[in-house]
């Protein structure tokens, strides 16, 4: 029998990882929902966000300025990428956009390698304290990550629910043609959503940076997991992605009580396969009528 304190520690770990994964995945699912674009460059936006964060952090010394600056920079970069590469491909075969985003991801990854070199950069967390959680010292910063991620996702939810642009985004997601006939500038809504997704990826990159060190390949692992989450949560379903992030991260955290964390990842893929077999529309969406 696993002792209770270990279970609780793993539950907290799972929620913390789940929240940051939710931040990555919600950008991804938002983009997929509105443009039917599977954005393979999402992990690279995450990684570049972290790098931009380190650069701003080194210059200003403030973690918060770095976080905000990285979000704004990546939003602008995301918008530029969307306008130059994805907008002309809208409505084409999905394979075309997949290849385009895959190409973007290679370019960004190698740009980062060229610009920043292979040695991981460090970004220092804004709070360094620990608190006693049973037998281990648990860093406050991990809880702060979970809290900030929750705040950002909550902000996004309010924006989507009540904001004019949120309504534009939801209307465009449901019926692109009708939205444009209502005077909604659909091409710019797409650009905006891509920018929001990029900014959220950047935020997660900066938040996650202090835990792993920033390197040019850090995006890969996260995108892979975010894709699993997006499929399990139901493609394009924001709430589903958030639930799936937390659900899968908790499963992995508990699984790592028995096996190594690297092996625990298998659990997510098992869930992914089961979802695709038995509920291909997603685990957290109501059964289609």
């Amino acid at each position: 029998m696993i002792p209770f304190d270990q279970l609780l520690v793993q539950a907290i770990n799972g929620i913390v990882t789940g929240m940051i994964l939710a931040l990555v995945a919600s950008g991804l699912t938002l983009i997929f929902g509105i443009m039917d674009v599977v954005n393979f460059a999402h992990g690279e936006l995450f990684m570049l966000g972290a790098y931009v964060g380190t650069t701003i952090f080194v210059t200003t010394g403030s973690f918060w300025v770095a976080l905000l600056g990285a979000c704004l920079t990546l939003a602008a970069l995301g918008a530029a990428l969307q306008i130059t590469t994805l907008r002309p491909l809208l409505g084409r075969d999905p394979l075309t956009t997949i290849l385009a985003t895959f190409g973007i991801s290679l370019v960004l990854q190698n740009y980062a390698l060229w610009q920043y070199g292979p040695v991981p950069r460090k970004i220092t967390e804004p709070i360094t304290g620990h608190f006693q959680l049973f037998h281990i010292e648990y860093p406050w910063y991990r809880l702060l990550i979970a809290l900030l991620s929750a705040l950002i996702i909550g902000g996004l939810w309010l924006f989507m629910k009540y904001g004019t642009y949120g309504i534009w985004i939801r209307a465009t997601t449901q019926d692109r043609l009708m939205a444009s006939a209502m005077g909604i500038p659909v091409p710019w809504v797409h650009t905006g959503v891509f920018a929001i997704g990029a900014a959220m990826a950047a935020a997660s990159g900066v938040l996650f940076g202090p835990l792993v060190g920033v390197n040019h390949a850090m995006g890969f692992d996260f995108t892979l997991r975010a894709f699993v989450v997006v499929v399990v949560g139901g493609m394009g379903n924001l709430g589903g992605s958030i639930l799936a992030s937390i659900f899968l991260s908790l499963l992995e955290a508990f699984a790592s009580l028995w096996v190594s964390p690297a092996q625990a990842v298998i659990v997510s893929f098992v869930v992914l396969i089961l979802t695709l077999l038995f509920r291909p529309t997603g685990l957290f969406v109501p059964t289609p009528k």
Partner: protein, 237 residues
């Protein structure tokens, strides 16, 4: 005000509109009749910029709309009420209306005023304002589609088969709203299968067949011409 000249439209390789010409003056209610599949809906979609004509011109208030994106067409003052209504099903009634209300140049009092006007025409939408569009009945969805178009304060509404599949009581209500719009000076291009209703509300009528306008005349003339009605529409008015 709206002027189509020799418009040809294709869907892929199939030639749907073979040179459609028609015009609607400011404040005029004009009917577009014809059997299924003759290109009536495509004509409206071409005006909206949802499909691009291969040849010909669409002009609105003297300016060329051809090739303009649908949201620019909408902002010029043209609203579209599609045949299948295309309500944003997951958005509430209020949010559906906000897709038209929340646009540049709209002040909060102006929005309220417009919303009140729409609710006055369709009281049931006020009751259902927090309900998802997809949960409304067919008739209510049709009202929402028209109400949504009204939030754009358009100069012309392209109304595609608004009475299709509706109960007589709802048809009467749609008829009433067409009158209200006419009194407000909104022009309407009405695509219908319901010939008696069209002849009642429209001043002028076009009849399409095989992607072309085959008959044009006043509603009164057409009413008196059983042969034409029978030939092109296969019904008796």
């Amino acid at each position: 005000m709206l002027d189509l000249q020799d418009v040809h439209t294709y869907y892929g390789k199939s030639h749907v509109l073979h040179g459609v010409s028609l015009e609607v003056s400011a404040g005029e209610v004009v009917g577009l009749l014809g059997r299924n599949g003759v290109g009536k809906s495509t004509t409206l979609k071409t005006v909206m910029g949802l499909v691009r004509p291969a040849a010909g011109h669409v002009r609105f208030e003297g300016r060329d709309l051809t090739g303009l994106a649908p949201h620019h067409v909408a902002r010029r003052g043209i609203a579209w009420v599609p045949e299948d209504r295309r309500i944003f099903r997951l958005l509430t009634v209020m949010e559906n209306l906000r897709t038209g209300l929340d646009r540049q140049g709209m002040t909060e009092p102006r929005k309220q005023e417009l919303l009140e006007k729409v609710y006055a025409s369709f009281p049931v939408l006020r009751e259902r304002r927090h309900q998802a569009g997809g949960t409304l009945s067919g008739g209510e969805q049709q009202m929402l589609a028209i109400a949504r178009a009204m939030t754009l304060t358009p100069k012309i509404i392209l109304l595609d088969e608004p009475t299709e599949g509706l109960m007589p009581r709802m048809v009467a209500q749609i008829r009433e709203i067409i009158d209200v719009l006419r009194r407000d000076g909104v022009a309407i291009l009405l695509v219908e299968q319901n010939v008696p209703l069209t002849l009642e509300v429209c001043a002028r009528v076009y009849i399409m067949e095989k992607g072309q306008v085959r008959y044009r005349g006043s509603a009164r003339e057409l009413q008196a011409n059983e042969t034409i009605i029978h030939q092109y529409l296969g019904v008796s008015a």
